[in-house]
Symmetry: none
Subunit: 228 residues, 2 copies
DNA sequence: GATGGGTTTTAATGAATTTTTAATATGTTT
DNA sequence: AAACATATTAAAAATTCATTAAAACCCATC
């Protein structure tokens, strides 16, 4: 996947040096020499990241940054400027910038900062504690479960049971284990809740998917595992 | 819960100043004075972000950063150091850091850089003393709440409850969590104040607006989030 | 110290959802 | 095939939730 960068810088020498350096890193770079052209390019293309000088003709970097941010929350913005006061930096971040680099800077530093930002952009935004088994993802904070990226709504008990299975993946858990840990009851042979709930879970997390997850070990219990 | 920060800094004066400043911004801060304690705290807690000095006793900041990154790719890491060469910065980013700030630095700059990073993880954005979730804006100083720019008057308890929801955006909070953190009571099953107040809030912040904010997870609690 | 307006809490209702039971069907082991 | 274990289904029971109204509380003002 090609990463597209919009570079807006009016000092042609710097612009050209950056364009060359970034191209060598296999980024696809479009260059604008003033803010209005930068805005036009932004309007008519899809970029992953923008590098903006602040002192630009026609439309300054702060304004352009704000414009970009208002139209695209995802896109990364790096401010690149000689203005080195805390006020300037705060104004830059307030305008929605993701990083602020002061000239003169080392090109290598720009590169690693860009990489650090892109890394975050490509990580899916799963805040918090997640448990994973293959393509099954359980978010313990939002209580959301997905498989192959598709959301699977679970009730409280279903969620608890699946969590117990995941935490004991590849281990056969008996009905007594499950009763004790998920239902907080001494196993009472008269009930078959556990069987029923395993059935509920299977319908939700296996039925419309290609592979099995919960296997029955007759006489022993159940085990959740990835393959065969 | 709130946003949790792990601060590892051996110069006690700096550490204390940072801890104080960050706490005032409603971040929950744990402080370690050497790398090994930092590692132990990381192992036994869940943090959203780490601020690491590089020259640390027992285990330096690069090593700790690498350790954190190997065990948690989500967590944000900010390096904070007097080492101001490009080589140092590159080493920091290579170790998995998300930002690298050179001492002496302005505390305000650290704050805006932290905010810029948290924004990417879809945490509620705090600009100064303002919390934002989508078009909902809560000013902690003036105690004013607006949605789509329209003012929404809230009572003290309603405000506290909404603040708790916003600080726990995308996280399902149980009634026990809410009781403990907003009402300061051990949850007493006989009361349904929380349900009533959720109802109050919904009437004020959702009724006349296009999208829902507070969702019920039956048997688990409530969650405030932007979409579906 | 009483009064009154707003805030907070309790209590009660019905509706919605989840959990459990129970009965029947299917499968497994000896 | 018999005996036992598990799967499936539907309906009953239990729980949880939304909503409303009224009671209790708080606090500023008279």
């Amino acid at each position: 996947m090609e990463i597209k960068i919009l570079l807006v810088e009016d000092e042609k020498k710097i612009a050209e040096a950056l364009r060359k350096g970034l191209s060598e890193q296999h980024y696809a770079v479009d260059v604008a020499y003033d803010g209005m052209i930068g805005k036009k390019l932004f309007d008519s293309n899809t970029y992953d990241l923008a590098i903006l000088d602040i002192n630009l003709p026609l439309m300054n970097g702060y304004e352009l940054c704000r414009y970009i941010r208002n139209h695209n929350e995802q896109m990364l913005v790096v401010m690149l400027t000689a203005l080195n006061t805390t006020e300037n930096k705060i104004e830059g971040f307030d305008a929605g910038a993701d990083d602020y680099i002061v000239k003169p800077f080392d090109f290598q530093e720009l590169l690693v900062r860009i990489r650090a930002l892109l890394k975050r952009l490509h990580y899916p935004v799963t805040t918090g504690n997640v448990l994973k088994v293959g393509d099954l993802v359980m978010n313990l904070d939002s209580k959301e479960v997905t498989r192959e990226g598709r959301a699977i709504p679970l009730t409280a008990k279903e969620f608890q049971l699946l969590e117990y299975f995941i935490r004991n993946k590849n281990k056969v858990v008996s009905r007594i284990d499950i009763a004790l840990n998920v239902w907080d009851i001494d196993f009472d042979t008269k009930t078959n809740v556990i069987d029923v709930y395993v059935n509920f879970l299977r319908k939700k997390i296996e039925k419309d998917f290609s592979s099995k997850l919960i296997y029955t070990q007759v006489g022993m219990g159940y085990v959740l595992k990835e393959n065969s």
